[in-house]
């Protein structure tokens, strides 16, 4: 139903524009940067400190050293933690000595190998960026999309299918087509709970969780039936994706750095622009901040929910698509390590801002990548990194702890607002 906005609605729009956050942000930009960034940064620091305690507490060599003498024990703690974090650093950023030597030698292959840890961290960050954007976009629009994981699976399945089933297309068409198929699949999977919410008021938290299970079982069924690799004897793995549909990697194996990372940055910019620079974005955020006021302002709340869920789902679908097209080159059971769920944490740490999401994704990617080296060198299980991420999230979600720990002043209206409205935006 189309109708002219009346005076009341225009006034409502204007008021909402007044009270909306980004204008404030611009005015107080300099002051608010620290208040926004301080909590996550201190949370990360605290996470690393508690991680160090866990590393020491779970190390048998520390106990053995304490058995000899307390001084030895303390020494062992420091050397154990130093070893672990050194491995975390060299595994995720690179070994400075090796980088300098490689640069000095001037050999292309040596330089590439020396920088590979950092590039690999970016590879690990890429799906986090897409999935984090999906959650952040949902939060900004007043929706708690817990269905990112399922949307990711459907997106990956669609991208994979287009990637292997269509043959003979040139790269310039096939790759974008497969990639967009991923977005479309995810969008459809997100749209369904959006539609249910708009039509029936069914809460998206419950519906997206249920849609996750449908997506997991559906992809399992597809992989062991329609999409199974012909010579695999029914193993849950798809055929290899055609070369023309693969997102290209820039260097030779073992360096996996690929174009998808830059696509992710581009999409992050696009979402920032959509949310903060367009009328649509304003509408999404208005509905997200206060659906009743938005309705009063003449916005269609159901329409906003449906559209926002579809966009959020599309972003999640891209997370799946980029993994299969750029890294895995086929789809198999065990597609995701839980990107859809980690990304909820990630979006919150990133304050539901695209830039925050990108930075936090790189942090998560770095931690996960470094964890591999940490495990090879110090035999510290990868789970410790999961625990560290959880601790970081806990402190970000409960900023009061960090404030009292580090005696920060309370900011006037800070990071919680978006989070709270994300939960409370249930009714319209």
């Amino acid at each position: 139903m189309k109708r002219e906005p009346n005076k009341f609605e225009e006034a409502g729009q204007a008021i909402l524009q007044e009270i909306n956050e980004p204008d404030q942000e611009q005015e107080q930009h300099k002051r608010s940067v620290w208040s926004v960034v301080s909590i996550p940064l201190l949370a990360i620091l605290t996470g690393l400190i508690i991680g160090a305690i866990l590393i020491a507490a779970t190390s048998s060599s520390v106990y053995a050293a304490f058995g000899e003498s307390p001084w030895r024990g303390i020494g062992a703690i420091f050397s154990e933690v130093y070893q672990a974090y050194k491995a975390l650093f060299t595994g995720s950023i690179g070994d400075p000595v090796r980088i300098i030597n490689a640069l000095r030698s001037g050999e292309g292959s040596a330089i590439r190998a020396a920088f590979n840890p950092f590039l690999e961290s970016l590879v690990q960050a890429t799906p986090y960026i897409f999935a984090g954007l999906a959650v952040a976009f949902g939060f900004r629009s007043g929706l708690f999309n817990i269905g990112v994981e399922g949307q990711l699976f459907i997106g990956a399945a669609c991208a994979t299918f287009v990637g292997y089933a269509i043959k003979g297309l040139p790269f310039i068409i096939h790759m974008p087509l497969a990639f967009l198929a991923g977005a479309l699949g995810g969008a459809l999977w997100g749209f369904i709970p959006g539609l249910l919410k708009a039509l029936t008021g069914g809460h998206e938290v419950i519906n997206t969780i249920m849609m996750n299970y449908i997506a997991f079982r559906l992809t399992e069924w597809l992989l062991s039936g329609v999409m199974t690799r012909p010579d695999s004897g029914g193993m849950p793995i798809s055929p290899l994706i055609e070369k023309s549909a693969q997102i290209p990697q820039f260097f030779k194996s073992p360096i996996r750095f690929h174009l998808g990372f830059f696509i992710a940055l581009g999409v992050a910019w696009l979402i920032w622009w959509l949310l903060f620079k367009t009328k649509w974005g304003l509408n999404f955020r208005t509905v997200g901040a206060n659906p009743r006021a938005a309705k009063y302002a003449g916005l269609s709340v159901p329409k906003s929910y449906m559209l926002a869920m579809a966009i959020s789902g599309a972003l999640a679908g891209l997370a799946g698509a980029v993994q299969v097209l750029a890294v895995n080159r086929s789809m198999a059971l065990g597609l995701s390590s839980g990107y859809g769920f980690d990304s909820i944490a990630l979006a919150l740490i990133g304050n539901n801002h695209p830039l925050g999401v990108v930075l936090t994704s790189i942090l998560f990617g770095t931690l996960r990548n470094g964890a591999t080296r940490m495990m090879v060198v110090s035999r510290i299980p990868i789970d410790i990194v999961d625990v560290m991420q959880a601790i970081i999230l806990m402190f970000v979600a409960a900023p009061a702890i960090i404030r009292s720990l580090y005696r920060l002043r309370k900011s006037k209206e800070g990071e919680e607002t978006v989070f709270v409205s994300g939960w409370g935006g249930g009714q319209s």
Binding site: E120, R217, E220, S224, S232, G233, G234, M235, P236, I237, L240, S253, P254, R256, Q323, V327, N328, R329, S330, M331, A332, L333, G334, L335, S336, S337, G338, N369, T372, R373, M375, V376, R379, P381, I382
Partner: protein, 344 residues
């Protein structure tokens, strides 16, 4: 034929190792680094990841090698972990499961000077620096099925799997064939619930290798249908089935992969036997071949004949199996080895 020759080689290798141990100790063993990459099940999956790691641990204890492992959380980790171990300079990289097949093949071809072994997968054609370890578990499943048919009082036995994939269904297939063989020999009509020889996809599956609750539910429904011997082929999911059987107390369990009487002793009183897949033993053999430099690519098939698969002793439930049935099982085993009994 060539598989048999490979195994003869394997035994010669062990033999030579024993001889070497009598002389000066193999100097290289301490320097050998063996690295395992798990699939997404993780290192303590009580199934093939854990069994392969046990093989490496055995080799660490007995041969003095160094061992490391990396867990994969998702498909994208396979390649990353392979790269990490190549970088680390591992002498032998052991990957676990069909799903790592692509990544292992790619890594093996990119690093022809390195040695690899993959469990539950065979390349066709074989790759010169990869040993594929596969197992004819239906042969042992056949024996377990025969024993189950001899023990059942209700005339019904049951099985369920994790996923309808070949490495799982081969257990179930052998089990059903063993029951059928018993029926044909004794004129009985023991029914197997949970698997259909005619249609592999029509079976009972938990669709999961983690959730013990599902194993419990499946076991309860099988017992409700009257099954009194149950073989769960779903890794740790089977422990849920074991718990459900123990609660009811009127059914028996058949373990898989390892001897559950030893690995899950809390269910020892109900464990009739186990269909054992000796991935640890074959892994040790591959490690030994790296140490004494006889490593050769190709595929190794574990069978009843070479001891790569077998059923576990009946332990506490020995009294359920009559001497007659035991003799028949020995005969069947010999017949499978000789080829007199052909499995489908």
């Amino acid at each position: 034929m060539s598989k048999k020759i490979l195994f003869v080689f394997a035994f010669l290798m062990i033999g030579s190792l024993v001889l070497a141990a009598c002389g000066p100790a193999a100097p290289k063993a301490e320097e050998v680094l063996v690295c395992q990459i798990t699939d997404t099940g993780g290192i303590d999956d009580k199934s093939f990841n854990a069994t392969a790691w046990k093989g490496i641990q055995d080799a660490m204890d007995d041969l003095g090698i160094e061992g490391k492992y990396l867990e994969s959380q998702e498909v994208a980790d396979y390649e990353k972990n392979l790269n990490a171990f190549i970088e680390e300079g591992c002498d032998l990289v052991i990957t676990v499961g069909f799903l790592i097949g692509d990544a292992t093949a790619a890594s093996a071809e990119a690093n022809p000077d390195r040695k690899f072994s993959i469990i539950d997968f065979a390349y066709d054609p074989p790759i010169s620096n990869v040993v594929g370890q596969i197992f004819q578990t239906d042969e042992a499943g056949f024996l377990a099925g025969y024993a189950a048919a001899a023990v059942t009082k209700t005339g019904k036995v049951g099985t369920f799997g994790g996923l309808p994939i070949p490495t799982v269904t081969i257990f179930m297939k052998g089990f059903v064939e063993g029951v059928d063989y018993y029926n044909a020999a004794k004129g009985t009509n023991v029914v197997v619930l949970g698997y259909d020889l005619e249609d592999e996809t029509k079976g009972l599956f938990s669709m999961d290798f983690d959730d013990q609750q599902k194993g419990r539910e499946l076991a309860v429904s099988l017992m409700d249908e009257g099954a009194d011997v149950i073989m769960p082929v779903a890794g740790p999911v089977g422990l849920g089935a074991a718990a459900a059987i123990q609660e009811r107390g009127n059914a028996y369990l058949i373990g898989v992969d390892s001897d559950w009487f030893l690995t899950a002793p809390e269910y020892g009183a109900i464990t009739l036997t186990s269909v054992m897949k000796m991935m640890d033993a074959t892994t040790v053999q591959v490690i030994e071949s790296v140490i004494d430099d006889t490593f050769a690519g190709g595929n190794v098939v574990g069978t009843l004949e070479n001891g790569g698969v077998d059923i576990a002793p009946f332990h506490d439930l020995d009294h359920l199996i009559t001497a007659e049935v035991k003799a028949e099982l020995e005969q069947i085993k010999a017949d499978i080895i000789s080829g007199a009994i052909k499995l489908k």
